[in-house]
Amino acid sequence: MADKTKRLLQGNEACAEGALYAGCNFFAGYPITPSTEIGECLSVRLPKTGGKFIQMEDEIGAISAIIGASLAGSKSLTATSGPGFSLKQEGIGFACMTEVPCVIVNVMRGGPSTGFPTGPSQSDIMQAKWGAHGDHPAVVLTPSTVQEIFYETVRSFNLSEKYRTPVILLYDEIVGHMREPIVIPEEGEVEIVNRIKPTCPPEEYLPYDDSHEIAPLAAYGEGYRFHVTGLNHKPDGFPTNDPKLIEKENKRIIDKIENNKKQIWKNEAIDLDDATIGIFAYGSIARSARYAVNIMRDKDIKVGLLRPLTIWPFPEEAVSEMAEKVKVIIVPEMNLGQAVIEVERVAGGKCEVVGINRVDGDPIHPQQIIEVIEKYK
């Protein structure tokens, strides 16, 4: 008998379903290939559940609207690709600074500029971390399958609500447009995290109370008439020029992620225990890497794969452990070398690190990875 909960979905549709499962009730976006289906899907699904969808006048309008909606108490989402992701950076920085939960999906396409809109890419790894100006926290998740897009969308909302920070869900066009059967869990099967709301009297409320690791966040219109500004601010939310307070705040928004990175990290380790050759791969290319590992293991070549589902904060512990064991870490990615820089930094010379790069709009095939493994076997 067919499992009724199993559905054949496109990656972008799974993202929309994951958002709804997580309690998303507000989406603002702007059409852009290859992420448009997320908005299309939510334009139908959200109003049916009483949620709101709006197609804004541009990408910046969309990120702005979801931050506004979040402050009014919604769980909000926007989705974009390449050029739109560049435009959203000012809003992402604002959400980091003002500690407003929201989720930004970037379905990566070829760049720079308009680049190759219909082609896959993984070239926004560094932009997802460093895109907004100023030092700011980055929480970025990288699913590899349609099912994972569903779960990682839910996790994006959960992390965003828990840590009061924007979370970026980063996947490439291949997984975004791929169709796979997925299981949508029953309600209650997956934990849903909601932001902590204040319980104190309004006159005592401090929206940036630094006596909490994560201060409770009120919603506008609930009696807590608080102030939000992108300027450096005091615990009460009002601007400050005090150097001590500025430094304290700038460090606090970084530290709340840094100090909790073990809870935010999520990796899959495949055949790493006895591996002498390691692969570090994420997104659709982790699938090619997995295939290559299977082929090589059949030939008794000890290859293992580390597949991060959280790429930022960077999985330092897992990469460091791998670097202790293997003689080489191969980093295949659809860019000219981005995650590889971090792998090299963390490996710190303990093993060789070699990139496999491709920016022609075709994915990195297992055979390309196998060819490199052959050199090190």
Partner: protein, 283 residues
């Protein structure tokens, strides 16, 4: 503080403190800046509207005028340059029961935020937008803006501004705003009434407010004081829409109209969205 007479109180002065956050004054605006006058008109209008402080969400972008929300005891959101309208759209659509008031300036609304401004007007989403127009970028030190008169001096138009002026009210009307008005800080009592009408209007209401930047616009253009600027641009530079038909053409030539310039009824965005939800739920 000096009380000049011991006479008994006969009529209490307006209590602005009810709406101001404690210990925030003096505000950051320069001596003679009109923004404080406008803020007072706005507070009196809100008081007359009967709205509670919890019902109001005030959103602003970047610039001198955009510092307003920091002083008032509402739900307040000081956002990014030009983006206030989009943030406000998010707030309003997420929580339509809030009365959203956007505070913006000529550069914020008409230059960097122009796209958000016109599309907010087009949707006719229920919010009141105040555009404080003082013909200059004050916060950054006096660069020309979309409302700087042609020929005027700014730090980026030292040889006289060659760019034509954007008419904020014409733009708002053309974009679809259903209430469009203009006031001045000089006519602060009329302004209070105009803002009250704007707040009561259902849909996007835009009020352009001509006020003065003596520090930059005034100094650069040899206008010696705030008073001189208020006389020139506000008192003598505008004509009430109620009087315009009675005046000879030479007294109207080159002057901006003041008062409610456009008011129509058109479906409001959040209400239309609610209907859409009902339709979608049935499908």
């Amino acid at each position: 503080m000096a009380v000049q007479t011991a006479a008994k109180k006969e009529r209490a002065p307006f209590d602005y403190d009810r709406y101001l956050r404690p210990k925030k004054l003096p505000h950051i605006w320069c001596p003679g800046c009109g923004h404080g006058i406008v803020l007072k008109s706005l507070i009196r209008a809100i008081d007359a509207s009967g709205l509670t402080k919890d019902q109001i969400c005030m959103v602003s972008g970047i610039g001198c005028s955009s510092r307003t929300p920091g002083y008032v005891d509402f739900n307040t959101l000081h956002t990014l340059h030009g983006r206030s309208f989009a943030y406000a759209t998010g707030v309003k659509l997420a929580k339509p029961e809030l009365k959203v008031i956007v505070i913006s300036g000529d550069g914020d609304a008409l230059a960097i935020g122009g796209n958000h401004f016109i599309h907010t007007c087009r949707r006719n989403i229920d919010m009141t937008i105040l555009v404080y127009s003082n013909f200059i970028y004050g916060m950054t030190g006096g660069q020309y803006s979309p409302t700087t008169p042609q020929g005027a001096i700014a730090t980026t138009s030292r040889f006289g501004n060659i760019e034509p002026v954007f008419d904020c009210c014409d733009l708002a009307k053309a974009a679809g705003a259903t209430f469009v008005a203009r006031g001045t800080s000089y006519h602060c009592q009329d302004l209070e009434k105009t803002i009250l009408e704007a707040i009561r209007h259902k849909g996007t209401s835009v009020v352009e407010i001509i006020d003065q930047c003596p520090t930059y616009y005034g100094r650069l253009n040899k206008l010696r004081s705030a008073t001189e600027m208020m006389e020139k641009f506000e008192k003598n530079g505008t004509v009430s829409v109620k009087q315009v038909d009675k005046l000879p053409p030479e007294k109207v030539e080159g002057k901006l109209l003041r008062g409610i310039l456009h008011r129509v009824e058109r479906p409001e965005y959040c209400e239309e969205y609610d209907k859409l939800i009902q339709d979608a739920k049935g499908k």
